[in-house]
């Protein structure tokens, strides 16, 4: 009849409901917050893990030996061409002198075998090439091979494809774990909301018996769970920010080879996911929970 009056009432009731059902509200918010932060933190750790593996992938560099007919200058000039190749993240020119030094280092105790070669260096000029995405490693190797002036290419295709497999498997495993954790969270949250609304079955029954429509009973609930859910999401977001920064600053960051995922790089996706999840589970959950009490 008069929706303006009703809306004011619904809103007032919704806000009041949060306080009247104090412990219930606290329980719901805290469980939603906890589950969001838990899942969020695990996602962050997973991103760190997969990020680190990607990083490790760059260890699988490509060694491209330059045709010995090219002058040292021409050989050095190839760098720009190589850099222009898709998926190449870095290029390092190793001239023949440096190549010999590295070889000696590599041989360790047997480096004496190479003594005396400095003056008659039999090595070729060489490039070390790193890729951005090890997923396209083979294509990049091919592109390097096809570069004019490159005589021969050594690439650890096997090792990289092994790493790639690891990354894929860990990616799937992480995703599975996060999805499972998400489902567990949904279960825990909806369980809590069901318990919290259970306390209201009498109240709802009375409202219905004196002539309230389902919509009228639901509206304040809707607003109440809206407010609770958004509150939970915002609290979770702030907590996640603090935890995210703590992770970056903690032990993990002292491991230089780890690519720690920083929460600050994912502010918007996280905010969206938190608010979205909280709204869907919180609001839908509480509306669904009261549905069976409405049948009076």
């Amino acid at each position: 009849m008069n929706n303006r009056h009703n809306f004011a009432y619904f809103f007032r009731e919704g806000v009041q409901g949060i306080f009247t059902h104090g412990f219930m509200s606290f329980a719901s918010v805290s469980v939603i917050t906890t589950c969001l932060v838990l899942t969020g933190t695990v996602v962050l750790l997973m991103l760190t893990l997969t990020g680190t593996i990607d990083e490790l992938g760059s260890v699988g560099d490509i060694r491209a030996y330059v045709d010995e007919t090219l002058s040292d200058e021409n050989a050095a000039a190839l760098e720009t061409t190589l850099r222009a190749i898709d998926n190449v993240s870095g290029v390092d020119f190793i001239d023949r002198a440096r190549g010999l030094n590295e070889l000696k280092e590599q041989l360790g105790e047997n480096s004496t075998l190479l003594d005396g070669l400095e003056n008659d260096n039999p090595l070729r000029n060489c490039y070390r090439v790193w890729v951005t995405d090890i997923g396209d490693y083979q294509d990049t190797v091919l592109a390097v091979e096809n570069t004019r002036g490159i005589a021969q290419v050594y690439a650890s295709v096997d090792a990289v494809s092994e790493l790639q497999r690891l990354r894929n498997i860990l990616g799937v495993a992480s995703l599975t774990f996060v999805i499972m954790l998400g489902m567990v969270s949904i279960f825990l949250i909806s369980n809590t909301i069901k318990l919290a609304t259970f306390d209201r079955r009498e109240e709802i029954g009375i409202m219905k018996i004196i002539g309230a429509t389902d919509g009228f009973v639901r509206a304040p609930f809707f607003i109440e769970s809206l407010i609770l859910s958004v509150t939970a999401a915002v609290i979770a977001f702030v907590l996640q920010w603090i935890i995210g920064d703590a992770i970056v600053e903690s032990a993990l960051s002292s491991l230089t080879f780890m690519k720690v995922a920083s929460f600050r790089d994912f502010l918007l996706p996280y905010l969206g996911a938190f608010v979205g999840t909280a709204l869907i589970i919180g609001v839908l959950g509480s509306l669904l929970s009261i549905r069976k009490f409405l049948r009076v």
Partner: protein, 261 residues
């Protein structure tokens, strides 16, 4: 208008609460519904407000056939009725004021109307000074009066009161009954369940008596015959107070056999 025709009601437990009720209450009537404990009075009220659907038979109230109406229509039927429940059914978390105001909110009354009307009916039942209390902070009789205030607040065309004076002192009781009679004189149909013989006798109104799920008397003026039940009770302390008890058939409402026989 209330019309129950050939109504049977069995609960899930197997209790046959109503065993063929035919009752017609015209608009504007004032009717007392009396009968012993467990005879089916509250069950009839539950049927009228569509809290229950009859196991068999037809219930028509204010133009709604409760067995045939859609679930979404039920609230609109209920809004035409003001009900005082035997167990009050107040919302514990809301104040007295809000409990009464709620009945007006659901029909979309304006805040102004609500303020005036709620204050008026709370005053009428003598609870204006308890408006901001919660039901748990009230005495039994005060809770009952809140329930009465809520039933009156929307000026419904039909008022049903289940033991509205069960927790009230004689003065209050008489006052409430006179209030209901006054409201009836303005055109509202009133159905009152009560066992207060003295009170019923002070009004010259139609009295429907029910026992064992059957209407056993329906006449104007005076309480139903006390004598007709007299022989069923012995003095307590002497063995079994109710000789007609049938513990072997626990699902049967009391004395139903007697009525059917």
């Amino acid at each position: 208008m209330i019309h129950l025709s050939d109504v049977y009601q069995s609960y899930a437990t197997g209790t046959r609460a109503l065993q063929g009720i035919n009752l017609r209450i015209e608009d504007g009537e004032f009717v007392f519904l009396v009968g012993p404990s467990g005879s089916g009075k509250s069950t009839i009220i539950k049927l009228i407000i569509a809290e229950l659907l009859p196991t068999a038979g037809r219930v028509t109230v204010n133009g709604y056939n409760t067995t045939k109406m859609r679930a979404s229509e039920v609230p609109y039927l209920r809004r035409t009725i003001g009900v005082v429940f035997q167990d009050f059914r107040l919302i514990e978390k809301k104040t007295v004021y809000e409990n009464v105001a709620f009945a007006m909110r659901i029909v979309g009354a304006s805040p102004q109307e609500i303020r005036n009307r709620v204050a008026y009916v709370l005053d009428l039942v003598g609870l204006a000074h308890k408006a901001r209390r919660k039901p748990t902070e009230l005495s039994g009789g005060e809770q009952q009066r809140v329930s009465i205030a809520r039933a009156l607040v929307n000026n419904p065309s039909l008022i049903i009161a289940d033991e509205p004076t069960g927790n009230l002192d004689p003065d209050r009781s008489l006052e409430i009954m006179m209030l209901l009679e006054h409201i009836n004189s303005l055109g509202t149909t009133v159905l009152v369940v009560t066992h207060e013989k003295e009170l019923v006798n002070q009004f010259n109104q139609r009295v429907v008596a029910i026992d064992g799920g059957l209407i056993v008397s329906d006449r104007t003026g005076g309480y139903y015959q006390y004598e007709q039940y007299e022989n069923r009770y012995k003095h307590p302390g002497e063995s079994t107070p109710e000789p007609t008890e049938q513990p072997e058939q626990p699902e049967q409402p009391e004395q139903s056999d007697e009525q059917q026989a």
